[in-house]
Symmetry: C2
Subunit: 581 residues, 2 copies
């Protein structure tokens, strides 16, 4: 089954979610034709250059030999073409060589890249995070000499946070950067899980590393952000000698074998401070928030790819007597198979809509006309980012698993390819902050800290959509169920704002699921409204997708809201010893 980037779906999602009318004011050049042209060009690259390498990347993977990493077969050439065609610098500031494109558009392009080849997509994704960090916090020299090379893609970036004892808890890190007496630093330490930390696809690799300084206070406040480059960057921008850091090994992983995940050792490496001393974690969060949203998009992407393959298989595989007569006897004619596929599709569209909405909000937070509009967009973007990350990546795993199941026994055989999606998808709920961390971020910083105000505002807006749906022929059940689900989310929010800390933490994951389920239903409802009255079968199917999602997902919201309020005490009382057999 050949992958085909979902241009039509993406264009429809961009048109119907977020605030396209506001976005059009912020990006006047971004008319429908431009959107279509960008999406089609990116789709051609994804389909023809990246997708064919995906299986090879899985089978042969990146290699570590003699202290250096070689990218998976074909990846280095593909990366060069990617850069030559300008896909690396879509949203970067034109001042640094970027194209100043909308972030939402860039996300749409990246969805296609990740779907075609998630292991490949991680390389430019991390470069983009480095671009964000240097754009916001880089020194004049870094902006002049390093940033343009990252924007052009001649050099790539890596985010170096995790250490063996410091994963979710970055405060525990021990890497140290000592002043070299000449305004620079010497960095020593070991970092693990460094995605594309070393490779042979670009001339230089710029590591953004968090580390302590010698006399820094303990904990978070002692952490600063540093830039250290694989090859030294001379004052004229040319490359000098090799810096003293190197990959020690690459991990043998469940999936994304085409992405080298490096253990990096820094031994007195030349490094420069980025931003302010002691602000390393705050600066890193700039990179992490963008990366979190991108990981959410990876969830959508891998789901899309897995879904396409299963849909294709369901139209080629004949087994048993199909109850539906319209499928030439193929298993797409079995109601249970069709239900699996349609529900997968609905969940993909919902997650895609959420991620693109956050992209639009990021654009508006930058460019909306008034300060109030920008602040409102920023608040909602922050609210929805953990949902976009966690909810979409859970869907990535679920849909990859459902797609494998559609293949029956063939799905368990690696040659089929369904298993790769199942394996690749599994990293997304983990990296860039596990989904549990996202849920804690949501209930703590994004809901409780402002008394639930931002979420209540969103609920009010969603309730208006529910009303519209209720008044629309064929969509009334969606409207009623969405309204009930919103009421459940509001009830849970009221409870959450007043709950004690332990009860709130215990409820975090089900609360995030509830919020994602409801927002996803809102997205599908709006898509169905936008499509209502059309006689195009493709548009007509939007109502069916919304109804299926409403009946299978939104119906669960009241129960989710009822149940999430009361586990704190039981969790607290349960010792590990009694759970051991």
């Amino acid at each position: 089954m050949t992958f085909r980037a979902p241009v039509r779906d993406l264009a429809f999602a961009l048109k119907t979610v977020g605030h396209p009318e506001l976005l059009a004011r912020a990006y006047p050049d971004l008319d429908a034709d431009t959107v279509q042209a960008v999406l089609e060009a990116a789709a051609a690259f994804a389909d023809n250059e990246l997708a064919p390498l995906n299986r090879k990347g899985d089978l042969e993977g990146a290699r570590y030999e003699n202290g250096t990493v070689t990218a998976a077969p074909g990846f280095a050439d593909a990366y060069r073409h990617f850069v030559e065609q300008g896909w690396n610098s879509l949203s970067a500031d034109p001042e640094h060589g970027g194209q100043g494109l909308s972030k939402a558009m860039e996300l749409a392009v990246f969805e296609m890249v990740h779907a075609a080849n998630m292991a490949f997509g991680l390389c430019p994704m991390l470069t983009q995070a480095a671009i964000e960090a240097l754009t916001q916090h880089g020194t004049e020299r870094q902006k002049r000499l390093v940033l343009p090379k990252l924007v052009s893609g001649e050099w790539t970036g890596a985010m170096c946070l995790t250490e063996p004892q410091a994963g979710s808890d970055l405060a525990a890190l021990t890497s140290i950067a000592r002043p070299d007496g000449q305004g620079g630093y010497r960095l020593t330490g070991q970092k693990i899980f460094i995605t594309w930390g070393d490779h042979d696809a670009a001339d230089n690799i710029c590591h953004l590393v968090i580390a302590r300084t010698p006399d820094a206070p303990p904990g978070v406040k002692g952490i600063s952000l540093f830039l250290t480059n694989k090859f030294e960057v001379k004052d004229d921008g040319s490359l000098g000698g090799r810096n003293s850091f190197r990959p020690v090994s690459i991990e043998h992983k469940l999936g994304i074998h085409g992405s080298p995940t490096c253990v990096m050792a820094y031994e007195d490496a030349h490094a420069e401070l980025v931003g302010e001393l002691g602000q390393g974690l705050a600066h890193m969060f700039v990179m992490m928030n963008a990366a979190r949203l991108q990981v959410g998009v990876q969830g959508v992407a891998i789901a899309e790819r897995a879904f396409q393959q299963a849909l294709g298989f369901s139209q080629e595989r004949k087994q048993g007597r199909a109850a539906f007569a319209d499928a030439d006897g193929m298993i797409y004619g079995h109601p249970d198979v069709r239900r699996t596929l349609m529900l997968s599709k609905a969940r993909i569209e919902a997650a895609r809509g959420i991620c693109l909405t956050v992209g639009v909000l990021a654009d508006l937070a930058d460019r909306a006309e008034t300060e109030d509009e920008r602040a409102a967009a920023q608040a909602r973007q922050e609210l929805l980012t953990p949902i976009a990350k966690a909810w979409s990546t859970d869907i990535g795993v679920d849909v990859a698993s459902a797609a494998l199941q559609v293949h029956g026994g063939m799905g368990f055989v690696e040659e089929t390819g369904a298993a790769q999606h199942y394996r690749d998808s599994r990293i997304a709920p983990i990296y860039e902050g596990t989904n549990g961390i996202q849920a804690i971020d949501l209930v703590g910083r994004k809901v409780r800290m402002n008394g639930g105000e931002t979420l209540r505002g969103l609920c009010g807006e969603m309730a208006m959509t529910a009303e519209l749906l209720t008044e629309t022929p064929d969509l009334a059940p969606v409207g009623r169920r969405l309204a009930a689900a919103i009421a459940a989310l509001e009830r849970a929010t009221d409870w959450l704002v007043g709950a004690d800390n332990i009860a709130a933490l215990a409820a975090a994951t089900p609360f995030l699921k509830l919020a994602g389920d409801v927002v996803g239903g809102w997205i599908l409802g709006r898509q169905a409204l936008a499509a209502a009255g059309s006689d195009d079968p493709w548009l007509q199917s939007k109502a069916a997708l919304a109804r299926l999602y409403a009946s299978q997902v939104l119906t669960l919201a009241p129960g989710l809201a009822d149940g999430l309020t009361e586990s704190g005490a039981d969790l607290e009382a349960t010792k590990a010893a009694v759970l051991a057999g």
Copy 2:
């Protein structure tokens, strides 16, 4: 993390689920001490001999070379010890050399075997299926010469159903068995996905193969069951020459690498009819039903193993400030991690209880005193078998995934071992009838065909438990939620019995989930009742598990029941073309 077979959990489950008082009458020798002794001996074997081979089996796997299959390193020796210690023949009829043990007990033993090494467990599991088939349908010669060797484990069995074009739809098979004019047959054809179809761990391998005879009618009625042995069996029981079938290759699979999954070619192989001509599928179902229950047990087993590893990791890994003070600062002290682990544990206990209940019902269907009791047990066993298979194997995948997640980034690295469980678990929802097929079996043959009577009877019995719970201090919320969930299941059953065929097929999977969720809650409620009033912390935790399950799972039942009734028309109307992007 070392695996430790959950003897205490299994003994408690055997004591509290099913109908232990009836079972005690059927198996008078099976007192608590005997149960404990058998479980402990099996646990020792599982922990010490099988578990240590699990990772090696994954890494090195079974090998195919020069037309023969070599079992994974250590597996052949372990199999010999398994047989020597008598674990192969627990429930087989003493007349054929078996030990005549309760099937429920045997399931408990097999759960430990599968948890320790699922790839290994498949070998005796398929032998057991062959034992069932020959016990019920074998000729006198087969019972005399072949069956005892299978019971002793000197020879192993294989089930040979699937062909490339005939997976879920066995009616499409084309293998052919031609009479040889001497009362025997010559078998020709190709079978795929033959688990342990060839290996070097036993002296002979007995293939039970379904095939057509030359003049047989098309479809299901033309299929018969045949026995063909790797080495010919002479009339004195000794082995003759090699039969003309062989493995052509083994599959490169996502998981269970230690289990050789063979493509088998039969070329005019000597074969004997088993049972009656044209009854092959019916006879095969004898084997499949036992195997389905065993696969459900595999779901429980892999969940248990994955859970244990995650629980262990959560007590050794320190990250961040744990909200609960009782965990030495380890991540078990984070409410979200503890919620994940406790909910996993609750779901494992629920699934274990369902599977063992079916085992007890199988025992009672054999041995209960009255014809009525036997018939009732048989009907309920048939009702619960697809639930035991599908619901438990979905939990196997979910818990393996949750356990991987608890490990964070380490979970995605193969060395940690969590990823193997995630990969291994994924086959169980597929083989022995996909979970979609189980759902169709449930709604069609098991519910609609008898007007929902058996399920309504179970609901009545569950409602009495709900009442008891509601009257018990600390368990009242469980009782109320269980009652509401049972009411939802009854409502869904009423609808299902009256629904048209397409609506029923469209609802099959959510209906099975609903039924499994409710029955699982009933199991946990009964365990909590059995533990009520104790001051043993382990028993006290049963109430907390039931409450957590009630608040996180049973609360969803009304929504599930509401939503499953209405997708048929939308599914029917949705063409594949509109789902493609």
